[in-house]
Symmetry: D2
Subunit: 446 residues, 4 copies
């Protein structure tokens, strides 16, 4: 897909008539240095062969406080909703949204919507809670979300009615790709109805698979905690003769957590991600490579992203002839499948091993944000407030080359960011593990 910068134009709800109160904070003659204009662009592509610099590189609108606002801070009402599964940093985002709205824009009406989009459906019977500085004072020290999260869709009309009834002008939606698609649809529907509503998305995917952004919040904390699980598995592997540690990490479509945790651990021997195919059997299959490793060093460490090897798991289901009802969380689980298969296969070869399997998923999702993620969440949330108060809508706050940006929800709702076996990232993984660069089978060239 070829994209150009005009594909990344941002919806503006209407003219901006209110001066930003942020200006008051600084020395007047200097204060306009603080503001960012809509003409400010950030380049997406930064690499080229000498002399072949692109004439019109893809670029995004830069985020930041605007000099004039669409919403009148004195009367604005904002709402915050968190959707999907836990991710480190949710409370940091909520807290910084509230503090920026309250302290810097003087917004006094902020609602926290409970349990995701469900909280905007009156039939569910969960009332929103008002949020102010006292409510968020210490929440950034804890994981989770003080609002609670929820999965699943709600009717757009029901949600818009709810927002209208509560006189909400701005909705901050924090969630993954499904949530952001919902936010996009909600913003469009509001415009169609003539309901003045700014919908600003803050992308939340622990898998880090949102396109056009450097990283998503919580990802680095997840990698930090994943490394601890890997260290534990390494310890178990070293503690037994022919000990094997196996760790399943998050990553349905993209192997970023597995790859980064492998690079951080520096002790992993095999890192398996959805983007790079591998086989279990055959001379260059995982089991054969693992056995060679064990014969040489008597211990081994494997990391597998949850989304990889789906073909293996399905085959295994097919082979099961008894027609039992199986629980999805067991049999579509590559981790348990690898555990059982590897142990059984090597046992049948007369090469018994001691395999310890760790699935740290919920222990990763629930921790508090580390320092770097806290910083990221803090600034991300404040930029979301700047964008919303300026009357922008149907956008998410991204970060590109370290600079915060505006990206239309429409542009990210249709694709996912994934790794490539030809990336320097994957190359670094293979240099670190010593495993074959292109997996055990040759992937198609993308």
């Amino acid at each position: 897909m070829m994209l150009n910068s005009s594909d990344f134009e941002i919806v503006q709800l209407g003219p901006r008539r209110f001066p930003s109160p942020i200006a008051k904070a600084g020395v007047p003659s200097q204060s306009e240095k603080l503001f960012v204009s809509d003409q400010h662009r950030v380049a997406y592509e930064v690499e080229w062969q000498s002399g072949q610099q692109p004439a019109h590189p893809l670029s995004f609108e830069k985020a930041g406080p605007r000099k004039d606002l669409y919403f009148d801070p004195a009367t604005t009402k904002a709402a915050i909703v968190t959707c999907g599964g836990l991710c480190p940093g949710l409370n940091n985002v909520i807290r910084s949204l509230v503090l920026e709205l309250h302290h810097h824009y003087g917004v006094r009406n902020i609602l926290g919507i409970r349990y995701g989009y469900e909280g905007m459906n009156p039939e569910q019977g969960v009332a929103p809670r008002p949020l102010g500085p006292d409510d968020v004072r210490t929440i950034h020290h804890a994981g989770g979300s003080v609002l609670g999260l929820g999965r699943g869709k709600q009717d757009l009309g029901v949600m818009l009615d709810f927002l209208k009834q509560h006189q909400v002008d701005i909705l901050f939606t924090i969630g993954g790709d499904g949530t952001l698609r919902g936010a996009c649809a909600l913003g469009q529907a509001a415009r169609e109805r003539g309901q003045k509503l700014s919908v600003v998305g803050i992308p939340k995917t622990i898998d880090n698979d949102i396109p056009f952004v450097d990283k998503t919040f919580g990802f680095e904390t997840a990698v930090e905690t994943a490394r601890q699980a890997i260290d534990a598995a390494h310890c178990e592997a070293l503690g037994a003769r022919n000990g094997v540690g196996l760790v399943k990490l998050m990553g349905r479509d993209a192997g970023y957590i597995a790859a980064h945790a492998t690079l951080a651990s520096e002790d992993v021997n095999f890192c398996l991600i959805p983007e790079v195919p591998f086989e279990l059997d055959g001379d260059s299959g995982l089991i054969s490579l693992l056995r060679k490793r064990l014969e040489r060093r008597a211990h081994a460490l494997i990391v597998v992203a949850e989304g990889c090897g789906i073909h293996l798991v399905k085959e295994s289901s097919a082979h099961d002839a008894s027609g039992n009802i199986r629980y999805a969380n067991r049999d579509l689980d590559i981790g348990s499948h690898l555990r059982d298969t590897i142990v059984e296969r090597l046992k049948s070869e007369g090469f018994p091993i001691t395999l310890k399997y760790i699935d740290p998923s919920y222990m990763i999702r629930s921790v508090a944000a580390n320092a770097n993620d806290s910083i990221f969440c803090n600034i991300l949330a404040r930029h979301a407030v700047h964008a919303a108060m300026a009357g922008k809508s149907e956008l998410l706050i991204g970060r590109c080359h370290g600079i915060f940006t505006h990206i239309p929800l429409l542009a990210v709702a249709t694709q996912k960011k994934t790794m490539s076996p030809y990336d320097s990232l994957w190359f670094a993984v293979t240099q670190t593990t010593g495993q074959p660069v292109f997996g055990t089978t040759l992937p198609d060239i993308r």
Copy 2:
């Protein structure tokens, strides 16, 4: 079982003819204050009703350096073996054994036996490795065991031959009840063969279920790490409407880890241990109590020890009519059983919940010892050296009321320490959780 102090007499291999070199370290006139005599006793029972103090309370021999030694430090050879599963503190014990032997007794021949008792069977082809201060310099900063562990028995004769061939005088065995029974048998067999061998056990059970001792090493670290898993589950529970966190912890026969982690967390609502029966169904069954809790507070937190509810799991197996082959690690697992049953049952009642299940076992076993466990391992190991150099054998190093003691292996090999529903410990758990004191069914009075 009534026991008296004479049941706790310690095997002495022979007369002590060598002065302890430890005396040199201190000021001569004071140095004998350092030594402990075999007559020094430590009382086991310390509670009574006023005026009813026991005349002959059960007591143990106090551990500590003896003034005279059985073994000549100049020629003594010691070996160390670690058996069973990982436990925090193994490397601390190994390190302090080596450093005490080397620096304070001047023992220069120390062997590390690889992978448990298996490493004393020449057929297994794993040679022992020599150990000195340089080999153990930094090992206490890591979890696991640098020697590797192994499960399973080996022939006593084969092991004694191995020890004789390597001229080993002292064997430090670090392991759980099976290992200690083996150590006991090994010591007896050596005496029968006239092979001069001191066998000193250091009890290792993460479950803390060794009788007559205050605690076993690694237990407090395990509780520390278990609390993190509980915090994670709490966070997950709070993050969803009718969210339930369920954590399975170690504890096959004894609920100490579950109980202590519950007391440490202070957020748990239901703590299930093997010693206190519970039912799933009925008005006072777990599912009914859980539902009431959720209706009141919308989230709940459950901790279950792995050894409890065996009858439930077996019933469940019995109910399954299809005759499938099942994997032991799935279907005799109370954690998964509770997860599936609770979710299904409440769903069928029209009360859907979001349950997140965490099994942190290997992430707990593999961490490095915390400060308190490090101290404990350090002193425990040094007392093991004192006992062995004095020619004591077939004993383990215990700690009673904070004082290190000698306990015959025979005395501990036949029973396990467990909690009672009438203990102050269990009472504290129920005060903390708010759950019924005596479980949901009345246990027999013990």
Copy 3:
């Protein structure tokens, strides 16, 4: 000082007329197993030479819920005050006091007094805050004290008037020896005035120097964090040629933190505590021993308790001829004194070193309680509630051989627990560091 058990009798405010509501929690026929009688004793001394068991060992009253209460839960009002400096676990104690009072005794009026005894002086203008379960929900996850602490005394009459005016029946005072002396005086003054007031102390000293108790809360957490500081200093020492790490730890009169952190670290070469004298100069002085260590290994690690070497610091002040006014926190600081003296002295000997000095005091005092301390605080607080509701006063809650006890405030207010150079604890320290057992000068025999 010879003590006997009658010195440890506990003040009882009057007859107990109200049945404990705790009984309701259990199965009626079993519930009295939960209660503890005033005749239940816990022995203090547990060691003796064979055959010389003491006929009347010192013993304490056992803590625990009493069957009948002095205070009527329906009308009782309790207050909590925290005094002195920060200590890990303060919030855990506050939380468990509140939860036990509220959930198990049904006490609905609980006041949190702000900033220590100062908060009971109306002139200071800080009103107490009501405390209920919602106020303490998450406080145990944070260090510090939600009530704030304060130092210094207030007039007994002023405080009693305050308590009378607020109709307070029970005052829980959490603090160190000065605070407990104040609590003792307050209880006596109340009795003299005929004011019905139970004063229950919970000893808080990070130095662990309260007599007759196994340990004080926060101590183990302090050791854990102190070990991290020692690890940092070790790293710095290893990182430079002739690198020396120097860590000053808390311990004004007693070296428990320094000793335990040294045992936990296992990397320290010199541990200096107030109880064991040492000299800087001379052949067996610290500087000479340090130089020998550096010549042999090129790095060294020293831990010093803040209360030791006072004579050195004073001498140094005496040697300073210029008559300058000096700040107490600089020149009565053994850490800075050692840093400056060691560096200067070895430099003048032509043996330059790189010394890194760490004073982690406030980073230790402010952390949240670790798991073991959380458990301890939790149970300690609940026992304080049991004692107070039974109408006991002028006591503190101790723990002896793992069993919670009642100790009169009077008995502990006049002395401190310290280490002895003839203790097994100090011996273990010297075995671990390799330093001379009795310091570099011979202490008087105690």
Copy 4:
């Protein structure tokens, strides 16, 4: 200073005659996708006003494995030296250098130089140690540097003679700006002498003040640990009436650590950095602002970078009339100065406070790298090996917009990266703290 891309050309020692062995690792037909050509550029500037994209943006050579090598892996000898103070990640860099050289390029001769440049002066008597995979197996789990560090210069000729004598072809120098200037001079001197030597720098400054690079290793870990110190100070501040926490952080010329730790903590009220002037006195001075904050909220939290307020410290020295000799580490220390001055000044105003001062410097520098820094160090080191084996010299490995780059040492040796009060970073800090945007005095416009 205007720079263009030609200022960033990299020294190449000579023609490349040896095929890279890295190619073997991949599938032959795909392997050249792994290699990076010298023509590959990375843009430095990525922001512009719409339509004003720079025609010739400043760009750097991209780092990565080259297809052909200057050095023959079979005979190449490499050396590694670490200089300056501790920084998290040193061992990770050393480890990945060794593993990349050994496993991927087949280099078998690697020397670790002890204690900085001093280790290349034979008169110092510290021999280098050979390094192989076994020597670095576990070092990444610990802070510090296994080679030891050293400060100070050595004669260029002496160092070149040492390297020649040891037949060293490649020198990896890990250190700060002084070290890198030394490395630059060494490379130039080698070229002048006709000694074939590749000098590759890996920038190490915990302050993150190297120009043209996204970040330096150890910085994020430092921020993580600094946040813990801030949390401790916050806890102390909350724990006393009018409690003030004051934390001094690293940052001689640049306030990056203070700024990022402030953003991560989200609890700081005043962040003071060298780049933004402030005054103590006057209506908008720190003391007045602090008092207002305390009157409103009764606690406050201040972070100060060590390099700021130098003018205040000097004035204070001037005010001291007694002519005493003072230790530099006391009186040029802004932390102690602020502590003493603030306490004294508010006391004299009749507004007593309780201030707790934390200087966590060595506890920050000595920790092990966090996951993100571990990843960064890992890849950084491998790129250093790629550059060196290709025969590049007098460069450092940078990272620009997430892509690893080559930067001539000459270009970075003469300047430092600092923050600006007009940066979005500083703006974010002031939004987070609520302090005045441009400090309490107006800085010159840069």
